[in-house]
Symmetry: C2
Subunit: 194 residues, 2 copies
Amino acid sequence: MAVDPRPLRVVDSSDEHLEETRVEGARVYDGALLDVRRDVVRLPDDTTTIREYIVHPGAVLVIPVLADGRFVVERQFRYPLHRVFLEFPAGKLDAGESPLATAQRELKEETGYIAERWTRLGLIHPTVSYSTEAIEIFIADDLTHVGRKLDDGEFLDVTEMTGTALFAALDAGELTDAKTVAALLMYSRKRGGP
Amino acid sequence: MAVDPRPLRVVDSSDEHLEETRVEGARVYDGALLDVRRDVVRLPDDTTTIREYIVHPGAVLVIPVLADGRFVVERQFRYPLHRVFLEFPAGKLDAGESPLATAQRELKEETGYIAERWTRLGLIHPTVSYSTEAIEIFIADDLTHVGRKLDDGEFLDVTEMTGTALFAALDAGELTDAKTVAALLMYSRKRGGP
């Protein structure tokens, strides 16, 4: 079961005046990572325009919570922006993989932790204007460290931070990864902030 | 002045063990919206891999606050996900345009409001793994409605919501646009939540 990127607020009759419909389209780039589409679409006023976007398999983000309340976080170099980002563990779904299985796999591979208890926190869409990507967010509790096994070509540092330190990093402009910021708010709504 | 997507935490000596360096690369798709690159990069262990990503001009998000504390928000159909999203006003920088000028232009064009007072709230990166996009976030206060003028091919509804209603939409899974969720947290950190 893949991430369903459209679980709520699909177009209903009250949204018909906003809806765009596909006339034709094609894959314009099929890369190692990116699947790029270009569609001709009909707009609400019956004119047509071009929409270009990435087709993405879906992803997960994991909020791993240690017994003392600290979070397991990563520092990872992100090539497009050529700098290191502070992020919660995350990763893409493999073909046929469920979001929960992806979350469990990525947490173990990237941080070396397994979790006894998993809670689904919600769904976010990082780039609604040009990607189909949806990210399922999970909380991982009751962690045990068993040793990590990174993918080939994957390099990242794992560290632990308190909620207070994470919010301080946000306030200082040092935490800018949107999925991590969004997840931090959703977590605080559910379990309380620092 | 464009959005500088790398204002903080550029690679320093402590991050050298994570850094990836470009060996060669090319633009593999040059569309109406998307500029797609494919680079061969050298990894920290001296092996090479492929990185594919979107080169993006940068964007802004505006949090427009009415005198009674309500927010001006949009409901916009997003073609890649084929549904309507609840979002703060946002848009891409035109060539040579400053983020503040973009914010003022987009707010007026999309919602019909102009603002007397502008406050920069921070920066987020929506898709660190495959886009250079950075979004500057602004708060717009002291609003006056002067009438909107949408771009050709742009259709969206404008509405007003309390902070309480926005958080309720988040808790209900109806607010999933990551930039809007992240901006809501940053705003609450600065001015207090509901």
